[in-house]
């Protein structure tokens, strides 16, 4: 515990020092990144130890704040979230060392590192806090730090807009969480988590309300549809290492909140599980569909976070159903898959956002349709992005497959029970569809950005990222491969976390996970054989071709002699069949101005138009249904209402003093009554 707390202290301290030498960008960058890396690494190793041991540690201090106490607790569940938090923060710190360099001199890097390290520290604190007040304070610090990081480039209008949307979304969520803790406090008499645990099982009908409050409040942070609208705004606006942290791990604190609340609520009702499964499907499928329709690489990745949060929710929903229906195997597989996906998603989404940042850094744009052929100029970024893309599609042998496999197994178990059959069938259809669509989306993203010929000067003039960025991406890619190939050994630490969520004993959980572990072992062996096979076959082909004519030519274009890079398929055309199919969800708007007729190109004798049209333009974009049709009208209505009250704000100090005096007067009368 002390190691983790001192790691957090180191993060805060280095952030402060970095802030103080903000004028000297070089020093600020080095100190901030150094603190982020060393603090996070120290915490990471300790968290891994705790997770593997499966023990719990406490720390308690009295605190003057009413209802508050400085109590911390690291159990296996907290450690499971600490591991990705510290890992992604350490590597994003390393990545940021190179990524932030171009801003030195132009921007205050000290402030950046202050908020970055603050974000890392507050996320860790959220996960280990064991008191409601402490939790809320850390939660708010986390929200504010990330807000200032999102608005790092606050001069740009789009960034300002993204910042406001994020700030509003996160605080609406926080409002629900405050109500949640107040209700807990009223029922339990204290805001300490121990008191919540002591009261579990005696909550009665309040448990339902508490669960819904948690799903809304924490779901807003996690990015459940329909609370997801801030993700596609905030993630592209933030600097890439921040997007990696926010999308990779910060949204997982929302998942942590839901899981932690579940441990306080005691035996769950069946409909909670159904609600989570429904949220999972509603987030997963539209999330990946909206990702397909995006043109901005980071926006695409942000929608994929919505999808992956949906997959996690599916796993958790199965777990809750398993407990409610007394099907322990279902509970263990659901929670195990969901929680493992938390770690896996942190790894590959962190990696992919770093890759996107590296593309932006090297090519100067995130617009997918302007890029192409980057893999030749940015081989490291290309190779690691490919690993991340295969992993996020849930394809073997990488880590995404492992967690999705566990959730699928849970789905099959659900098919075996009478009342969970529908959940199992929906989950299998949903996951399969999500998997197929994700593959479509990432073949598009990787294929158009990194393969083929550059579609504009952006692609042609790109350059590879610096060493620190390359190391960070390579380590995350190694993590994706490692978890994939060593999956049987990863499952047992996760089992410790599953124990604390499901309330099942160690022996039971291990026993129920045994078929999954043995399956994963065989998959790992086959995967290793496949890797060997790929190498052998490649060498064999090399030998075969060595003595023969092997030449290089242009791509076959059906006999057309002058192909240009403009004739390549664009990302929009690649996704068009699917986006057209799901048009009702995506609501694609297209703008196609009629042919821009140039004056000088002659008209034919009938005057019906020129022989040679001058040029044509086409653009399409998909509007987020919820942003446009749900939140837009609501917030407009609130604004109209607020404008009605504007007369109160006269701008004269006298009036304001009058308000204060009047209020005091009314209060006084009310007290004396």
């Amino acid at each position: 515990m002390l190691i983790v707390l001192s790691a957090i202290g180191l993060l805060v301290f280095s952030g402060l020092i970095s802030f103080l030498c903000g004028r000297c960008s070089r020093a600020a960058n080095l100190i901030g990144a150094g603190g982020a890396i060393s603090g996070s690494l120290a915490g990471f190793f300790r968290a891994v130890q705790i997770l593997c041991a499966g023990t719990a540690e406490h720390f308690h201090l009295v605190w003057d704040v009413p209802y508050g106490s400085l109590s911390f607790r690291i159990d296996a569940l907290a450690a499971l979230f600490l591991v990705p938090i510290f890992l992604v923060c350490a590597l994003s710190g390393l990545y940021g060392l190179g990524y932030m360099k171009p801003w030195s001199g132009r921007k205050n890097l000290g402030a950046y590192w202050f908020f970055f390290n603050g974000l890392a520290a507050s996320m860790a604190m959220v996960v280990i806090a064991a008191n409601g007040v402490l939790f809320l304070i850390c939660w708010e610090v986390m929200a504010l730090c990330s807000f200032f990081l999102v608005t790092f480039e606050h001069e740009e209008r789009s960034v300002q807009r993204a910042g406001w949307i994020y700030l509003a979304a996160t605080h609406i969520g926080t409002a629900f969480i405050i109500v949640l803790f107040l209700m807990f406090g009223r029922v339990c008499g204290s805001l300490d988590f121990n008191a919540f645990l002591a009261a579990r099982g005696h909550l009665g009908s309040a448990a339902d309300i508490l669960f819904v409050l948690a799903v809304i409040g924490f779901g807003a942070k996690a990015g459940f549809v329909p609370f997801h609208i801030w993700l596609p705004e905030a993630h592209p606006a933030a600097p890439s290492p921040v997007s990696a942290v926010m999308s990779g791990v910060m949204i997982k604190t929302g998942i942590y909140g839901i899981v932690r609340t579940l441990t306080f609520l005691g035996a769950p009702h069946i409909w909670w599980g159904w609600l989570l499964v429904a949220i999972g499907l509603v987030s997963g499928i539209p999330g990946v569909l909206m990702a397909l329709a995006q043109h901005d690489l980071k926006r695409l990745l942000a929608y994929h976070s919505v999808e992956n949060i949906g997959i996690i929710a599916l796993g958790l929903g199965l777990g809750v159903l398993g407990i409610a229906l007394k099907m322990p195997a279902l509970a263990v597989l659901g929670f195990g898959g969901g929680l493992l996906h938390v770690v896996n998603h942190a790894l590959f989404k962190g990696l992919l956002f770093m890759g996107a940042g590296s593309v932006q850094h090297g090519a100067g744009t995130r617009e997918i349709d302007l890029l192409g052929g980057l893999v030749k100029r940015m081989p490291w970024t290309g190779a690691t992005f490919l690993i991340g893309a295969v992993a996020i599609c849930g394809l073997p042998p990488l880590n995404g497959f492992v967690s999705e496999f566990l959730i699928y197994m849970g789905g099959f178990h659900a098919l075996g029970g009478q009342s969970s059959i529908a959940a199992g069938a929906l989950l299998i259809i949903g996951l399969a569809l999500i998997g197929g669509l994700a593959a479509a989306c990432f073949t598009k993203a990787f294929g158009v950005v990194f393969l083929g010929e550059p579609r504009s000067s952006h692609g042609a003039n790109s350059h590879e990222a610096g060493w620190s960025m390359r190391i960070a991406m390579s380590l995350l890619a190694a993590g994706c491969v490692g978890i994939g190939f060593f999956s049987p050994w990863v499952v047992s630490p996760v089992a410790h976390a599953v124990e604390s969520v499901s309330g099942l004993s160690h022996v039971v959980v291990q026993g129920l996970l045994a078929p999954a572990s043995s399956a994963l072992l065989q998959i790992a062996v086959i995967s290793a054989l496949c890797a060997l096979g790929v190498i052998v076959l490649s060498l064999l082909r090399g030998r075969m071709l060595s003595g023969r004519i092997s030449s290089t030519e242009g791509t076959w274009d059906c006999g057309y002699l002058r192909p240009s890079e403009k004739m390549q398929y664009t990302a929009s055309s690649f996704a068009q069949p699917l986006t057209a199919m799901f048009e009702p969800i995506l609501r694609i708007k297209t703008h196609q101005p009629s042919f821009l007729i140039k004056e000088e190109s002659g008209c034919d004798s009938h005057g019906s138009g020129p022989f040679f049209p001058g040029g044509a333009a086409f653009e399409s974009h998909s509007e987020d249904f919820f942003l446009k049709s749900v939140y837009g009208p609501i917030f407009m209505a609130i604004q109209r209402l607020a404008l009605r009250l504007r007369f109160l704000q006269a701008g004269r100090v006298q009036f304001y003093i009058l308000y204060i005096a009047l209020t005091l007067f009314v209060l006084l009368i009310w007290c004396l009554r």
Partner: protein, 313 residues
């Protein structure tokens, strides 16, 4: 791992290229032609393996990795693939997910290898491929789940490995067909659609067309040549064998208990399936592209209804 059972993958590796030969011969007979030899694909593979290669200067390592990863994935699938009642060499729970996702890996690499050429034609084929496969995948998984539940409901107690392909197919027998015949027929229909779609056959794709604009699978591999193309053709025939075996294991419910007889019956079923494919290709034109998703979604409903029927019967 049971080493005796390794005969199944070996059989698949040896016989898979025969399937396209049977299809082509059937088409030739129906059209009144003499047609290619049955072993044409073997000759083609041997010839391609002796050739050199031409690579586009647009391509990168991804293009060269595509055929290798595709072939290895298709071969790895054979390790978990049962042939009728004959169990696969490797069996574990939920191995059908592994099978589906290995095919997904193969597709992923075929698609990005196509995009690596920078050709609009190949990207067009790739775009259609990912669209159709995204719709075909839920159908496949639902159909297999339905078969699993059908085998379970016909009396055999649930023990051993749940949702392991070998167990699913060994439990399926004539008695299962007696008990839930209509549902299994629906499942067979859905799997048939998946088989035709995933293997790029008519009515989804026309392997014989000469116009790049209308092709799906063939257009994606336009730029591959020599040993690479051999790997792609061989991988495609293994994939056809795999999906065909899943269907043949269902429609040929011969479960004698003798692995040789069971596997033999299943292989015969596979050959019949190839003949049927040839017949379909002879009597049908390919569907308009916009109709293809509708057919795949209908197959999805078919398999889901079958599952519902099995559960509530």
């Amino acid at each position: 791992m049971n080493y005796g059972r390794l005969a199944l993958p070996v059989l698949a590796l040896a016989l898979a290229p025969l399937l396209p030969g049977i299809i082509n011969r059937t088409k030739a007979v129906i059209a009144g032609r003499k047609g290619q030899p049955l072993f044409q694909l073997y000759f083609d593979l041997a010839k391609l393996l002796r050739k050199g290669a031409v690579y586009s200067h647009t391509t990168s390592l991804v293009f060269r990795a595509g055929p290798v990863v595709g072939l290895i994935s298709a071969a790895a699938v054979l390790l978990v693939l049962p042939l009728g009642g004959a169990a696969a060499p490797v069996t574990f729970s939920a191995d059908l997910i592994f099978l589906a996702y290995l095919l997904g890996l193969m597709r992923f690499f075929t698609v990005i290898a196509a995009l690596d050429t920078g050709s609009a034609f190949e990207a067009m084929g790739a775009s259609r491929e990912v669209q159709f496969s995204a719709l075909a995948e839920p159908v496949l998984l639902m159909a297999l789940a339905a078969i699993a539940l059908a085998g379970q409901s016909s009396g055999s107690p649930l023990h051993g490995l749940p949702f392991c392909l070998s167990v699913i197919y060994s439990r399926l027998s004539l008695a299962t067909w007696m008990h839930s015949g209509p549902a299994l027929l629906m499942v067979a229909g859905a799997l048939w659609v998946v088989f035709l779609a995933e293997n790029s056959r008519i009515p989804f794709d026309d392997p014989n067309t000469h116009l790049e604009l209308t092709m799906i699978h063939e257009v994606m591999v336009l730029d591959h040549g020599g040993p690479d193309f051999a790997m792609i053709l061989y991988g495609a025939s293994l994939k056809m064998w795999t999906l065909g075996a899943l269907l043949a294991g269902l429609i040929v419910p011969v479960r004698t208990g003798n692995s040789f007889l069971d596997a033999g019956a299943c292989v015969l079923g596979l050959f019949v399936l190839a003949v049927l494919t040839g017949v379909v290709e002879s009597v049908m034109a390919r569907l308009r592209l916009t109709r293809v998703p509708q057919l795949l979604v209908s197959a999805g409903f078919l398999s889901t209804f079958a599952l519902a029927l099995i559960i509530w019967s």
